[in-house]
């Protein structure tokens, strides 16, 4: 409910692959073998993924729905995110406010996230609360009641969320960069909608959008924790299992336009420091290039030992912080570099970043860098699986963004990437055509709130 877009670095999310596969390879059969996450499709089309995980006596349940900002028509901007809020506002049998009381009364927590490609609802409860939580998610998933007073009341909350993002230069720069790099593709639209659109929002389009996308055939339920598959399946059969499957066809918009010639925006901001965000269009989640682009992004700017950190921050002292990120997304990926600095360094920092990238294009990366990036991938996964909710998120994102099977093979595929392929990715994607957002200290133009 608090989050909107999740901009996870893909590497962390997808690194589990070969791990689970390796488990199978070393113990291929028999009662002692490591169970892969179990994936079943119910007769109504709901995908159920389960995995035992006993780090704590809790269970994480995540309902992933294949709907997000990209599914909105221009007149529906912000509906995916607004729905995310409204699902917690009650059903015919659960009055407003009671859902939070129920979850927290069990000693649990809840949250939800909307991205351009998917929306997910997360609950973590002590494992004794499994049945209650499954029942709740099934009810929220198809029976949300949208009380008119709650729709009106939530508008103020969403306006606050818009302000909150604007006050955070890092988040706001990432958002502005996405809008600049993708426009007019749906990925370039504001995920929270516009103030005018939200102000005018009524119950009818909200409910229509909900009925269109929130059907079991368009959902994946991921359950990870100190529970058995049999218990989960029984709870799911008695709830989700009784629902009609429905049908959903997701429209595929035309691909995002190329950034030929580059795109540039300077934004006046109240902070004393400047922010520079640069974005290059790159492979989408289902393309083979995604593996090499992941490694390239890590080598460029993931850690203190990365090239951008060592050159632009440590050697040249041009920036206070710098990092690179890769969000593949389903319909077109984006590699970004973002940095904070004294405003006087903006030009030199951008030139230094371009120089670091040029060197990778011209000279490639070392085998040691490639190996470090692989270890980092493995490490991200290992830390992700420390908690039930971390593992659930990895599985849910894999299922809805690519496929669970692709996810399970991920690390193996990554290992097959050569240094030459990493260099080729830099040549293919990180050229001179990029989007650039700069936050520069200064007053907002007259008559405008930033």
């Amino acid at each position: 409910m608090l989050g909107s877009t999740t901009m996870r670095i893909r590497f962390a999310a997808l690194a589990l692959g070969a791990l689970l596969l390796a488990g199978c390879a070393t113990t291929p059969s028999g009662p002692t073998s490591v169970p892969r996450p179990r994936r079943e499709v119910l007769p109504n089309g709901l995908v159920l993924i389960t995995r035992e995980h006993r780090a704590a006596d809790v269970v994480a349940l995540q309902l992933w729905v294949r709907v997000g900002g990209r599914d909105e028509s221009p007149s529906e901007l912000g509906l995916s995110h607004y729905l995310e809020h409204m699902l917690f506002k009650g059903t015919p049998t659960r009055p407003p406010g009671s859902i939070d009381v129920l979850i927290e009364g069990e000693g649990g927590t809840s949250n939800a996230f909307t991205s351009y490609d998917y929306t997910h609802y997360d609950v973590v409860v002590p494992s004794r609360g499994l049945r209650t939580a499954v029942d709740l998610l099934a009810d929220m998933g198809v029976n949300a009641s949208f009380p008119p007073a709650e729709i009106e009341g939530e508008k103020a909350v969403v306006f606050e969320e818009m302000r909150l993002v604007q006050d955070d230069p890092d988040k706001f720069a990432a958002r502005r960069l996405g809008e600049l790099a993708y426009s007019p593709h749906p990925y370039g639209r504001p995920i929270l909608g516009t103030p005018e659109g939200i102000q005018a929002l009524t119950r009818e389009p909200l409910q229509r959008y909900y009925k269109k996308f929130y059907v079991p055939r368009n959902m994946a339920l991921v359950v990870v924790g100190a529970v058995s598959h049999a218990d989960v399946r029984a709870a799911v059969d008695a709830t989700f299992g009784t629902l009609p499957g429905g049908e959903v066809t997701r429209a595929i918009p035309p691909p995002p336009p190329a950034l030929t010639g580059g795109r540039r925006v300077d934004v006046p901001r109240p902070e004393q420091q400047a922010t520079l965000a640069m974005g290059w269009r790159a492979a989408s989640a289902n393309e083979a290039d995604t593996y090499a682009v992941d490694l390239l992004t890590y080598i460029l700017g993931d850690s203190p030992s990365s090239r951008l950190n060592q050159a632009v921050r440590e050697r040249d002292r041009l920036v206070f912080s710098i990092e690179s990120n890769y969000v593949p997304s389903q319909l077109g990926g984006l590699v970004s570099v973002s940095a904070r600095m004294d405003p006087g360094n903006l030009e030199r920092a951008e030139a230094a970043i371009r120089e670091v990238i040029r060197r990778v294009r011209d000279q490639g990366v070392t085998e040691a860098e490639r190996e470090r990036a692989l270890i980092t991938a493995e490490s991200h996964y290992a830390f992700d699986i420390e908690t039930a909710e971390g593992l659930a998120r990895v599985l849910g994102q894999g299922e809805t963004t690519t496929s669970l099977e692709a996810e399970l093979r991920y690390l193996d595929r990554l290992r097959g990437v050569t240094t030459a392929e990493i260099q080729a990715m830099a040549r293919k994607y990180l050229g001179d055509d990029y989007a650039r957002v700069r936050f520069v200290p200064g007053p907002a133009p007259a008559g405008e709130r930033r």
Partner: protein, 433 residues
């Protein structure tokens, strides 16, 4: 290397599927030189986390050298007598790890983590950083600039600034008033010699607690820790200060800062971690602002739409604590939101909380506590912190019992005692002229 990693992780997954609650009780050892070492074997995931806590932080600082502990740690991670900062970064990255160091109020921490199979080199690098940092004079100016940039960034962040202003107002002459990053006025006065002296004074074994949690062999970790740290000589005691008790004060400060949101932060002095009222105030804080069913969220955000963020904080600290209520709201709603906040304070000081609300708060509080301790990094920190604070590494079980025993009368009494005098900071955008 890679292949070995795969097998190690596969083994970890085997363990994942095994029986619940496999983590061992922590083993605690006091070395001859006074240093404490704690190891918790946790086979669940193939990772390891280290926390080295040292008794030095803002509690030992004066306003004119505020931030020296954090500054010293920023300098420490720039390299050791054996390797440069870049080498250190590369070696850590090759373990799939990370390492960082920072000052806090009652302690400073070097924390590190990596894939579990690298626990030995990780411990070695962490020890090297702690016992033989380069503390190079040539790095001081650059690190100072970087820290000043972080201070500016914090000042530019409306929420962070509002909290800093509140703590300054609430704690007055007590060192908890000082930000651990320091101040823009103090950092330029801290030179290389002062940083080296600070290190020599406080980096002493009897002031250090090393905690390790992860998929590690406990015996071997203890032996390695003895080898790496056992030779450090005792320091002979840097004097620990006795900070003045901050007097409660009812103040309201309004600060202008350009932003989209208005920040409202209201706080009062509260009990320390070892105080008998600690659990009751934790429950009080949770009733008011814990989760989405907490009163601030349910009433001010959900019912009245007056705020986006609506929460409360009461962190465990060895010294005087602070109970802080926080709202982030639209400027046009700020007056109503602040009024609503005061009504909630008044209500909880006069009406006993219902049994069901009390049960929700206690379940939520304890559930969150369990989840917060699910990772090895947090486990390592908690073990070290509870030892440092003097309540013992076995504190969680006692804390749980204390929370379960809290009654509605206890919450009412805690509210009357600790929410009597409120300091408020309102950080708002300049009004149009």
């Amino acid at each position: 290397m890679i292949r070995a990693g795969t097998l190690a992780l596969a083994a970890a997954l085997l363990l994942l599927a095994a029986a619940p609650a496999p983590a061992q009780a922590p083993r605690i050892e006091r070395l001859d030189n006074g240093m404490t070492v704690i190891v918790r074997e946790n086979p669940l995931a193939p990772v390891v986390a280290l926390s080295l806590l040292v008794r030095v932080g803002t509690t030992w600082e004066r306003p004119e050298q505020a931030g020296i502990s954090n500054f010293m740690h920023a300098l420490m991670v720039k390299g050791t007598t054996k390797r440069s900062g870049a080498q250190l970064a590369e070696e850590i990255a090759a373990m799939g790890g990370k390492i960082s160091a920072a000052g806090d109020s009652d302690f400073s921490e070097i924390k590190s983590s990596a894939l579990a199979r690298f626990w030995r080199p990780l411990l070695g690098l962490t020890a090297e950083l702690a016992t033989s940092p380069q503390l190079a004079a040539g790095e001081v100016a650059g690190e100072r600039d970087w820290l000043l940039s972080r201070i500016q960034r914090r000042r530019d962040n409306p929420r962070a600034r509002a909290f800093d202003e509140l703590y300054a107002a609430l704690y007055g002459a007590h060192p908890y008033a000082l930000p651990s990053l320091g101040t823009a006025a103090a950092l330029p006065r801290i030179d290389h010699a002062a940083l080296v002296q600070h290190y020599r004074t406080y980096y002493r074994p009897e002031r250090m607690i090393l905690s390790v949690s992860g998929q590690v062999p406990g015996d071997e970790v203890l032996a390695e820790a003895r080898k790496l740290f056992g030779g450090l000589p005792r320091g002979g005691g840097a004097a620990d200060p006795t900070p003045p008790t901050p007097p409660p004060s009812a103040r309201r400060l309004v600060i202008e800062q350009p932003a989209q949101q208005t920040q409202i932060v209201a706080g009062s002095l509260a009990p320390s971690l070892d105080h008998p009222d600690h659990a009751a105030v934790k429950v009080l804080s949770t009733v008011l602002g814990g989760g989405m069913a907490g009163r601030l969220f349910a009433e001010l955000r959900d019912r009245r739409g007056l705020a986006y963020a609506a929460t409360s904080f009461y962190e465990p600290v060895p010294g005087p604590g602070a109970l802080v209520l926080y709202l982030g709201t639209a400027p046009e709603n700020a007056a109503k939101a602040e009024d609503g906040l005061r009504q909630e304070i008044q209500r909880i000081r006069t009406e006993r909380v219902s049994d069901s609300e009390l049960a929700r708060a206690k379940n939520y509080l304890l559930g969150r506590y369990e989840m917060d301790r699910a990772t090895n990094e947090r486990q390592a920190w908690y073990l070290g912190f509870y030892t440092l604070a003097g309540v013992g590494a076995d504190h969680p079980a006692r804390y749980r019992r204390a929370v379960e025993a809290v009654t509605g009368v206890d919450v009412l009494r805690a509210a009357q005692t600790y929410l009597a005098t409120i300091t408020t900071v309102v950080l708002e955008p300049p009004k149009p002229r």
